[in-house]
């Protein structure tokens, strides 16, 4: 259902032989959602999947397989069919156009409020690059955050949008951050790097939680605010942090029902019914899961940070200037999951100041401290394993069921690193971003092990999946 004025021209597309109307430029998955189509792909394990929770969302477009329906913009006449996770194109079609090398004093990875704050603090003093894999603004933009909308987006240094950083590599006095921009490979060198890579949305484990019609909070926000398409007409909101989206739902006049904890969803092509643990059944066509925000620890750990646990989340260990070493700083929700985007912004400014100070400039980062507010504190949370069907509840979008994770634990493997390898959890597309916390919870629940005693896997390059043809 469309809920506002659309950008772009109205175009005709075909999906599985059926003519539909959509808008040019919007992602395929959004255009199809607006037409009530939620089931787009089939997983490796043969499960029906949509585009908005976990796992990739491949479709076939004009005979080309494995097109990313979350990113590929719609154009006139597109002929779209459902895709499979294991599809690939036999014709080599991915070629790099060029390699460039750029030198800066400071590189900031992540263009959300923290990255923007850091860039504004630094770019007037030293050459700065701000790298963002999508568009500037991050979560603040898709939440239409008032504070964020009040700051002007100038004095950011050189901005590289739609540019995906591959990792942090140490090269003596310089740090190399290679990045992919379209079909171009850019090797960024700098003296200091700020990782402002933000947080990831918490997911939940319940029966059929991989079904089309289930939304991660950030996917739902994007659909609503960027594309003016509603997740559904009968929305269930669940999880411990409804406040991350309830304001937007109200603002756009979208009715929803808050169910703190979902036990099961059912449906043919996607969600039709939702069950809670009290025996209530709700008719619904969309479930939005909003269960906390967690620092995305992968970029920090890839860069060499150690991981600690407290207040319900894992975070990178940093010193009093938010450094993990002499070269790399962590700013914003990549370090602690801030409640307000304002806090992330000022934390970014503060870290920017620390960097300037370390580079020999006069700066006082502490002056921003009073604007940096609270971060989320939760308990670890638990998964009601005794009440769930273990074959139908998914810990991870790569077809890893609750059963697959519980098996090694029950066999006596209490090392997270081993459980990971035996169950294949945290080894797929998301690199553990949406599933690792569930394993931490399960291991704690079943063995009492303190998360700080767990051997947490480090992020490995590339930080986000990129195609071999761009690097080769």
């Amino acid at each position: 259902m469309r809920i506002g004025e659309q950008n772009g021209e109205e175009v005709s597309i075909t999906f599985e032989g059926k003519k539909l109307t959509a808008y040019a430029g919007e992602p395929i998955a959004i255009g199809l959602l607006a037409n009530g189509i939620r089931r787009l792909s089939i997983s490796m394990g043969g499960r029906k999947r949509g585009a908005f929770y976990v796992g990739p969302a491949p479709v076939e477009v004009n005979g080309r397989k494995r097109v990313d329906s979350r990113k590929e913009p719609i154009s006139e006449g597109m002929n779209i069919r459902r895709g499979r996770y294991d599809d690939y194109n036999k014709e080599p079609e991915t070629y790099r156009t060029s390699i460039e090398r750029r030198y800066y004093e400071v590189i900031i990875v992540g263009g959300g409020p923290a990255g923007i704050g850091a860039a504004q603090e630094i770019s007037g003093v030293v050459p700065t690059a701000l790298i963002e894999k999508e568009e500037l603004g991050g979560r603040a933009k898709i939440r239409e955050d008032e504070f964020f909308e009040s700051i002007s987006l100038n004095r950011l240094g050189d901005v590289y949008e739609r540019t995906t950083a591959l990792g942090v590599f140490y090269k003596g006095e310089y740090v190399l951050v290679p990045a992919v921009q379209g079909r171009k490979l850019i090797e960024f060198y700098a003296k200091r790097v700020i990782l402002a890579t933000g947080s990831v949305a918490g997911t939940m484990v319940f029966e059929n939680n991989d079904m089309p019609g289930i939304f991660r909070v950030d996917s739902a926000l994007k659909a609503i605010t960027l594309y003016k398409v509603a997740p559904g007409e009968r929305i269930i909101l669940t999880g411990r942090t409804p406040e991350l989206i309830d304001g937007i739902l109200r603002k756009y006049g979208l009715d929803y029902l808050y169910v703190p904890r979902v036990k099961r969803v059912e449906g043919e092509e996607g969600v039709e019914r939702v069950y809670d643990f009290e025996g209530n059944v709700y008719e619904a066509d969309a479930v939005i899961v909003s269960d906390g925000k967690y620092p995305d620890i992968n970029p920090s750990t890839q860069a060499g940070a150690s991981v600690r646990y407290s207040d319900g989340f894992l975070y990178p260990e940093t010193d009093e200037k938010c450094r993990i070493n002499e070269f790399v700083y962590i700013a914003g929700s990549a370090r602690r999951p801030f409640k307000e985007h304002r806090s992330s912004y000022y934390h970014g400014r503060m870290v920017g100041s620390f960097v300037l100070e370390d580079l020999g400039y006069e700066a006082d980062g502490r002056k921003y401290e009073e604007y940096v507010g609270e971060y989320y504190r939760y308990d670890l949370g638990n998964i009601p394993i005794e009440k769930l069907n273990h074959d139908e509840s998914f810990v991870c979008g790569c077809d890893v069921t609750l059963k697959k994770v519980l098996e090694p634990i029950r066999l006596g493997y209490h090392e997270l690193q081993i459980i990971k390898r035996l169950s294949h959890v945290a080894m797929g597309f998301c690199q553990g971003r949406y599933c690792l916390m569930h394993v931490v919870r399960l291991l704690h629940q079943l063995t009492g092990k303190d998360p700080n005693e767990m051997d947490i896997p480090s992020g490995r390059p590339p930080l986000w999946n990129v195609k071999m043809g761009i690097l080769g």
């Binding site: 490796m44 494995r66 690939y88 014709e91 390898r421 080894m427 490995r460 071999m468 043809g469």
Partner: protein
């Protein structure tokens, strides 16, 4: 704490040695610094090859395949004899490899020299435009290091072996020429027999025990890549192309393409994945199979090749110490060789000798200056 035999190192070699000793009724304890498999086993390329160019290695690998097959049937871990496929690009290479094929055939390994077209039938996505011949042994194999190690560890435990993880050995106490105690971060273990199965860290353990000879095992960083999963059966064999950065690649049971190239760094204990590898592996793989251009890389990771000067391991008893054994320096072949190594080491501990050809791996050969011909190894700079 007490144990008759302490195996230091919980990788595939240590676990299989303990498994074999426990099977023979020995009281054995594994001490592992981190978690089982954390050194190199869990980062290995999954391949099990018998196509070597010397008799001992062919025989050891052949026995390893037989044993692994037997235990795959008993324990159920994934193991698939999908072959190795070597691609050759020059007449010189083909002449050299013909001799190796003859040797392999004479030892019962059914390797065949095949045409580029036959190679393409086996892996249709291959670019064979520069390939002039290929060698294929259909009985070479691949196995999941995770499930294999876990299955053997479980069976070893059931037979009475004990395993201590997150326990680092920090000293070895001797009484004269005899082993007295192994000192760890979690207490002392009284024992009379130590097996050094630490591969990349073998030198450190040798030093702790006062091994009086020089066994030059050095750690080198080798990396591997894993891509998004694609349809199962797309790349069945392990494909080897020495021309393109000594590349090896195949598909895992989960569907991802896994493999590596010979970008070697070291000696070093650093296992940080590098950008240079990311580039080199992408370059080589997309030459061998152009369609891999379209695949997304999920991650790269690094493990050790614990190398000796002739790329053959050091396996045997150190005579001057009562009793100290070494099985280390596998130079990238530990995962494939482990079952027969375990049998040989258990033989010499329990019976004093073995019928397996481990003379080639004599730990004293370095001192005596009797280096062996190089084992055919991926990730060297030259092939001959």
């Amino acid at each position: 704490m007490k144990a008759d035999i302490v195996v230091i190192g919980g990788g595939i070699v240590g676990v299989l040695i303990a498994h074999e000793l426990a099977r023979r009724g020995e009281d054995v304890l594994i001490v592992e610094k981190r978690y089982l498999g954390s050194g190199s086993t869990f980062r290995c390329g999954t391949g099990i090859r018998q196509q070597f160019t010397d008799e001992a290695n062919v025989r050891m690998m052949k026995r390893a395949v037989e044993l692994r097959k037997k235990y795959h049937e008993a324990y159920g871990f994934p193991f698939k004899q999908s072959g190795y496929l070597f691609l050759w690009y020059t007449e010189e290479e083909v002449e050299y490899i013909k001799k190796a094929v003859k040797l392999q055939n004479s030892l019962g390994v059914p390797t065949r020299l095949i045409s580029p077209d036959e190679a393409k039938e086996i892996v249709p996505l291959l670019d064979v435009s520069e390939v002039i011949a290929a060698t294929r042994n259909p009985t070479d194999a691949k196995a999941s290091p995770f499930y294999a190690l876990a299955s053997f560890a479980k069976a070893a435990r059931e037979m009475g072996a004990r395993i201590m993880e997150y326990t680092e050995v920090i000293g070895i106490k001797r009484k004269g020429s005899s082993i007295d105690k192994v000192i760890t971060t979690r207490g002392e273990i009284s024992t009379g027999i130590v097996v050094n199965a630490t591969n990349a860290r073998a030198k450190l353990i040798n030093a702790m025990a006062g091994v009086p000879i020089e066994i030059p095992i050095e750690p080198y960083k080798h990396q591997s890549v894993i891509t998004q999963p694609i349809k199962g059966g797309t790349i069945n064999p392990m494909v080897i192309s020495l021309r393109y950065h000594h590349a090896y690649l195949t598909q895992t049971a989960h569907g991802g393409v896994i493999g590596g190239v010979g970008v070697e760094e070291g000696p070093t204990y650093d296992l940080t994945p590098t950008y240079e590898f990311l580039r080199a592996v992408s370059e080589a793989f997309t030459k061998i199979i152009p369609a891999l251009r379209n695949l997304r890389i999920l991650r790269i990771r690094a493990g050790f090749y614990a190398k000796t000067p002739d790329s053959n391991p050091a396996i045997g008893r150190i005579k001057e110490i009562d009793e100290f054994y070494i099985a280390a320096g596998f130079s990238g072949h530990g995962f494939m060789m482990a079952p027969s190594v375990a049998e040989a080491v258990a033989d010499i501990i329990t019976k004093g000798s073995t019928s397996l050809p481990i003379d080639r791996y004599d730990p004293y050969r370095f001192e005596r200056g009797e280096l062996r011909s190089k084992a055919l190894q991926m990730g060297r700079n030259s092939f001959y």
